[in-house]
Point group: C2
Chain length 352, copies 2
DNA sequence: CTGTTAGCGCATTCAC
DNA sequence: GTGAATGCGCTAACAG
């Protein structure tokens, strides 16, 4: 088990010798690609334990073209830094599951535009599969991965997922959950503060799907909703709330999908003497608990468990890699309503 | 450059043939481990480009015992989840630099107590070096890594770093910077809200170093400081502020080293009618900008750039791995004061 | 300055 | 059911 410095690392041959069998038998015992008698299998296992044997990743990879390594593609575009707190949870979920299944996780942070680097990664054969994060509606990485014949799963969707595997948030369901929660509290005039126009243009599909979901849910609930885009910053949030109240004085609740802007929204509300949640309710979509707990009052949120999504994505990926795939898998995760302190009953001051 | 599906991945032999040289020459041209004439070197380079050649990681690793992969050990102990926002920045900094230097980053999230797993990782030879995060005063992983003869660098320090390489925050300097800032604003009665007792006992060395630093700096500045430990939660923060004001009614400024507790501190202050920063200043040590911007008002912080530390750690590690090391390297990073809105001049209400 | 060759540790095709 | 032999793609020691 523990090996003191200087000891040679044992190879399959060592195991074979100790178990009194040939190297190939050891190999078969490991891969299970051909029947081995129970007796020898046990002796081999014992020998491996005694020696603290671990198969050499390189030798195995060289021969079998399988590395047991999967890459997480998490581009860190400068203007997006800070979206990361939630993404971190995905990554950890993914890592958990990968490790459980005996896979390693390679963190790849090249920009989404570094297509050559990506092609290189794909070609090296270093990784068995790829988990694609921060997927755009039109995402050039997808083309590269398809060409390279590398197996991959998306966390999020592009414009036309077709037969691509993905795991994504069910934004429609999240929208409904959020709207229902607020209308149940008596809110009739809602505001929806989305990501910035630039983010929408950049193809953040989730922002668009969510907005449509909110619009639809509000229509069913006979609530009125004013939608705005908003720069991802405190200043952006301040401006957005001002603008929102200008457009609809009767707004009593805000659904926000813009983590960075939330503090701005809250402080602008405070400046106007609007207490949260007495005068104005705020609910954030897909905000990590981490962040939700940093605001005062703590933010009520709707969103799925990111870690679970990460795990699911890796599970799908491994199933593909190991050839146990059952056609295309596309999963949508339901959001959950986490009640904290930023939402409450509508004040009926000037509601018609 | 791009390779359409079906094309065989080119090997060194293909490159050699195309360049009209022997395979070994290609190898030497790549590793530079023996002189190659400029002319042939160029022809080889061209051939590689034409073919879109990428060396096979496994073959190289198998032969040379070097993988160009470094592992980041980032244990996710359950009770510590949430410390992560800052850690993320380290990891990204590390990843950036690794990729710049042609290294891959393996994310290893097994618990700090999963020593067997770690030993296995070390033994596999999969990684050239290890970046150890979340280092404890007494950290059993260190022993495992030493035994395995694996090169590693710590992000943080154990109790007795001796000849181990590390990169760490200069908590003493941070403490001085924080205390100086507050005393310059006229604050004479400070509070220091630290991590919880359990964290201290668990050997979070930084908490202890920082506390001592604050104590020292306050003494030099002739300021009085009341120190408390505090559970990492909103409730913990609320309790801590109450307790603090009980112990010293004259406190006008708080230095916090407990990210999760900060919102609690702030809301408890609000409940007592203490405005921030008019009545009470708050400054956080080593809080990521992400989090600092989520509070209202935005939090003034003191701390180093985490990404820079991550980069430096990887740089040190690679230097070691490549044998270019110049003895032991131990780096302390200075913190910077980032002025936001949570600190201001002392109100001289009941200061003696 | 360049070419030839022998493995690295494992998976797998043959033989038995 | 098991064993012996071959080669994955590359590096480095040996020969020129």
């Amino acid at each position: 088990m523990s090996r003191s410095a200087g000891d040679k690392v044992p190879t399959m041959v060592d195991v074979a010798r100790r178990a009194g069998v040939s190297p190939s038998t050891v190999s078969y015992a490991m891969t299970g690609s051909r029947p081995i008698s129970e007796a020898t299998r046990l002796r081999i296992q014992q020998a491996m334990l005694d020696l603290g044997y671990r198969p050499n990743v390189f030798a195995r990879g060289l021969k079998s073209k399988r590395s047991h390594i999967i890459a997480v593609l998490f581009p860190k575009n400068e203007h997006e830094r800070g979206m990361n707190l939630g993404s971190m949870e995905y990554i950890f979920g993914a890592s958990d599951h990968a490790q459980d299944r005996g896979y390693h996780l390679l963190l790849w942070t090249s920009g989404a535009d570094a297509l050559d680097d990506l092609a290189g990664l794909a070609q090296q054969g270093l990784v068995d599969g790829v988990l694609l994060m921060e997927v755009r509606l039109k995402d050039p990485r997808i083309e590269v991965l398809r060409n390279s014949e590398l197996i991959f799963t998306m966390l999020g969707q592009n414009a036309d997922p077709g037969d691509l595997d993905y795991v994504d948030t069910d934004f429609d369901q999240c929208a409904r959950l959020a709207v229902d929660h607020l209308t149940a509290l008596g809110h009739r005039h809602l505001g929806f503060i989305n990501l910035g126009a630039s983010a929408l243009e950049a193809g953040r599909g989730n922002a668009i799907r969510l907005r449509d979901g909110v619009l639809g849910a509000a229509a069913s609930a006979r609530a009125q909703v004013t939608t705005l885009t908003c720069e991802s910053s405190i200043g952006g949030g301040r401006g957005a709330l001002t603008e929102l109240l200008l457009r609809d004085r009767a707004v009593t609740a805000v659904i926000a999908f813009n983590e960075q802007a939330v503090p701005g929204i809250m402080s602008a509300a405070a400046d106007r003497g609007l207490r949260i949640p007495a005068d104005l309710s705020i609910l954030s979509i897909d905000m990590p608990a981490q962040a939700a707990l940093m605001t005062t009052p703590a933010m009520t949120t709707v969103g799925p468990t990111a870690a679970a999504m990460g795990r699911a994505a890796v599970a799908m990926l491994i199933r593909q890699v190991e050839g146990a795939a059952t056609g295309v898998t596309q999963m949508l995760f339901d959001g959950e309503l986490v009640l904290r302190e930023s939402t409450g009953p509508a004040a009926d001051h000037d509601t018609a």
